[in-house]
Symmetry: C2
Subunit: 360 residues, 2 copies
């Protein structure tokens, strides 16, 4: 077969991970905990489960391609217009649509290094040219990113808070950056973890959008709201940008179960606020425990922590896996010596700390 | 904003339909039936609902990006290798991936006219050149399609059975066509409705695949298996084709609820066979009723029927809508005078016939 798209071969094919049950069976372990994907460790609230049970009886029908009910709910929550919203099969899809729309062959994309893998993969697959700007002390080097801007630049991705360090850029940094960038370049704030942030100077991107028409925000129900398995994220931008991305998406890209669950989540905020508080408390527990073990880490504004595990993080991640604790070895991301752990339930975090202590 | 992808503006933006509840409220109707999207009119089986309830408690976890369990189930069912399968967010995504991989800018795509809208939209968005070959007496004109093949041809889509007529091409026609087409052109059989076909000469495409490496098949859980709302379809081809498409997809393109439901469907075939039998019986009921009313139609091998409604199908479709019966006006597809009705439950079909009689 002659592949018309030569960029495909610049990426590695996706290697499917085995289900957690398979890992358990293979390693002969009674229990395996997963702290590798920055998931909310709790099941959906009873109200969300009830909404899903209702939706289950109607999955024989196609989803609402316009996400009518959810759109209305989010538009009210954020005080934006209906047509400023775009829904995706996870916020991954929002990222991919933006790249395909604005940064196809010949366009340039600026991202941090390391950062969320999808920015890079989506850019390569579209034939965009990628500029990767190293983090400085695990923070975005916005000046260096600005210096990469040229006439072919189409998109700048800013994970805020970012992954894998969990740090954020402030309102002032965001505004200075936006002011310095030409208005025909899309500045894409990926705020997948924004519900976890407690910081007064975290940017009000929806406010900034009124002044900077080239600002786009993506968020997700995968992290704080615990719907990672259902795949639903959304983008917010001015309607001319949303209109373009909307033409590019598949008509039924968001499944009906995700729509029903997300709408129910919005009506059950207290359940999720309580979880956010617990994750915050557990973050402090992990900080204390790591300090007591003399292990360095980055202060995080998310539900994960980047931990300096020592010289060979692959060995440590493997040793943890063999004891049933799955974390992310960051060597793959170019951060040798680091692992990233998600903040789980109190019992899971305790087990992580205990197991790490046994290994080191 | 400067859109780097100029093809986007060649398509119309998707206009979201209102949910059925909204239609009901607006028209002040007690009950509205939808016979417009060729859905299975029944909810999932009790076993499938149970599997979904279990999956609901784990949607906080990301889906298995490799669809491990479902892949194994389908590979066994169809006697193909694991790596001959690709899963998509509906078979829509399989179609879009194939176009993006093989028929990007400059490539040519051959389809029938009219045919399933996604072939056309996906091709336009990728910047492919489209050849649309008119149906002859509502059947594929394979000779005319063959005549459009040239050195730039990348994909030929064959809906089998096709939409909107519900007719099919035979094993012999399929093989003659495949023999005549150069092996570097992807011949894409969209078999979304294949579970509804009862015909000895319907092509064994998986058998033909051994001889014709450029043959690809797409199928779906949306039609016979009633999972349209969950979005899950799959492609079957030789592993080198699947490998290319697999590189192009998003890592978590298929949600966990769809995976759980589809795996449960495979384990509960008798429930769905019974529905298929009923749809078949109801098709005969609709034939008889339409004949009795002197209304012409196409004999269908699917769960929908193309009906010659008369000169102005828009008026008829509107009149049906106002009485709470949603069907598809085919004028939009270039078939003035035709409506397409899905085969619903016995009560729905009876209401369709009764309402149509009142209108005409």
């Amino acid at each position: 077969m002659q592949a018309a798209n030569p960029y495909i071969f610049k990426t590695k094919p996706y290697v499917p991970g085995k289900p957690i049950d398979e890992v358990r069976r293979e390693l002969g372990l009674k229990s395996v905990i997963k702290l590798a994907s920055n998931e909310n460790p709790y099941p959906p609230s009873p109200k969300v489960l009830a909404a899903m049970a209702r939706a289950a009886r109607e999955v024989n029908r196609y989803p609402d391609g316009g996400c009518f009910i959810l759109r209305r709910g989010l538009a009210r929550k954020f005080n934006v217009d209906d047509d400023q919203l775009l829904f995706g099969n996870g916020s991954d899809e929002i990222i991919c649509l933006a790249v395909r729309a604005f940064a196809a062959k010949g366009g340039e994309v600026i991202i941090a290094k390391p950062s969320f893998l999808v920015y890079e993969i989506a850019s390569i697959l579209s034939g965009a040219r990628l500029h990767q700007v190293p983090l400085q002390s695990f923070r975005y080097d916005l000046q260096a990113m600005r210096a990469k801007v040229n006439g072919r630049t189409r998109i700048i991705f800013i994970g805020n808070p970012d992954n894998p360090a969990g740090t954020y850029i402030t309102q002032r940094q965001a505004e200075d950056f936006l002011r310095s960038v030409p208005k025909n370049i899309l500045v894409f704030f990926d705020e997948a973890y924004f519900e976890y942030v407690h910081a007064d100077d975290y940017p009000d991107t929806l406010g900034l959008m009124k002044k900077y028409p080239n600002l786009m925000v993506a968020r997700t129900f995968s992290k704080m709201y615990g719907l990672a398995g259902l795949r639903i994220g959304y983008g917010i931008a001015r309607r001319d940008i949303i209109d373009i991305l909307n033409r590019l998406r598949e008509p039924f890209n968001v499944n009906s179960m995700a729509q029903a669950a997300a709408a129910a989540v919005l009506a059950d905020e207290p359940y999720y606020r309580k979880i956010a508080q617990e994750i915050h408390a557990q973050r402090l527990y992990l900080y204390r425990s790591l300090k007591a073990m003399n292990i360095a880490f980055e202060e995080s504004f998310t539900n994960f922590i980047l931990v300096r595990a020592g010289a060979d993080s692959s060995v440590i991640a493997d040793a943890l896996l063999n004891k049933g604790v799955i974390v992310r070895d960051m060597a793959v991301w170019g951060l040798k010596g680091y692992i990233r752990t998600s903040i789980g339930t109190p019992a899971e975090n305790k087990r992580f700390i205990k197991t790490l202590g046994e290994i080191l």
